[in-house]
Symmetry: C2
Amino acid sequence: MRIAVYQTSPAYGEVEYNLFTALNALGSFRADLFVLPELFSTGYLFGSRKELAALAEPIPSGPTTRALLEFCRAEDCAVVAGIAEVSGRGSARKYFNSAVFLGPRGLLGRYRKTHLFNLEKKWFDAGDSGFSVSVFRGARIGVMICFDWVYPEVVRILALKGADIVCHPSNLVLPFCQAAMITRSIENRVFTVTANRVGKEKRGEVEIPFSGMSQIVDPHGRVLRKAPRTGEKLIAADVDPTRARDKRFTPGNDLFKDRRPRFYRDLVR
Amino acid sequence: MRIAVYQTSPAYGEVEYNLFTALNALGSFRADLFVLPELFSTGYLFGSRKELAALAEPIPSGPTTRALLEFCRAEDCAVVAGIAEVSGRGSARKYFNSAVFLGPRGLLGRYRKTHLFNLEKKWFDAGDSGFSVSVFRGARIGVMICFDWVYPEVVRILALKGADIVCHPSNLVLPFCQAAMITRSIENRVFTVTANRVGKEKRGEVEIPFSGMSQIVDPHGRVLRKAPRTGEKLIAADVDPTRARDKRFTPGNDLFKDRRPRFYRDLVR
């Protein structure tokens, strides 16, 4: 299975342009699974919840999801991509920082970001989807978004649910995540695929520089491919997802069988 | 509070020698809290459970704990150190890979290793103590041992229980841990203090080289002090334990208040 990550530099609010640019780049490449950054089609730094409202789309009926689905059908591939989602009507309307998991035959999964980062709390509702794993071409694929990285609970739960590959659309600003994701791969024996963006966004006093260095890490913590800190870039690796199913850490240790959940109760209090 | 780590190279089975060497090194230095490696007084590579039985000691009545307690009284300090523990009588007898936490006025805590590494399963019983935090000079101190590092649950639970400083006596062989402990500090905003050993042990076909690089990491993931890969070495850092109580990650994020345990139930199934 070939996994490709496209490290993008979206223009804020220019959904059509960002979508066109991304699909153009992906279309020139062959892969089974493409992973795009968080909020790849809208950009990140919303001025207000109202501005977000003007850019958010329903899933799967919105134009971004529909265009990605058409791409998956035409190219016979899957895509994981971050999208600003609107859900519900009237006073029940909610906005989520979501990621879609799409295949040639339709929607495979939708994840709503559980742990919102800083200003995102002003714009988005906290995700209510929990964590789930869907299968594509025999690979069990889980999705998390950006700041979820700092909660070791997230990759752990996805791995316990059987994920071979954790896709991680991101808009990273802090420098700690890429190293942490190597530890996530090691402690869970899974592939982790971080699709980060580059460039800066500025609104008034606030300027956010994004850190690039998208990466594909194998279940032993080896960085298979890594993008540079700046610049749009497509990186890809051929992987055998079933390698993530061998949780033996030493001849005497199976990482997951050796867990002792009766001592972990404090984690859910 | 001054924390010191003594990276040792114990001689297998030579308890008196190892204890004397360690106390001699510690005695020439002033610190509030000394952290010694896992099994610092016995060495690591037991030939059998019977061999372990000949070296294991009750806590706190055994000679190693008594000598360390005497040191804490005389020097007005605390020590965390790894000890082979025997507990119970007759058919209820058990052997634990334990760590003691000792102060000038006696035993502050005892931890029995929850996640045994590889061959340790042949010698030791799995720890039954769970994870706890004790206070010394206003610092809240938790203890874990070596391979517990690969389970993110462990530092997380200690931090949720209020630990400012996680002491981590170790006999590390794999190269992943030191980087992972930086992530543990960041994701929990705690000090982590890894006391590793150096040297090799050999029994028949089995040879184990220990990886040194003991380290003291602050709640932002900065490595305050790091020992070399080889050689006995004492490293020390002056820290303010209360810095671990500020869990703000950004102006909008408190790492612990932002946890969403209702989505974490799978961790304890």
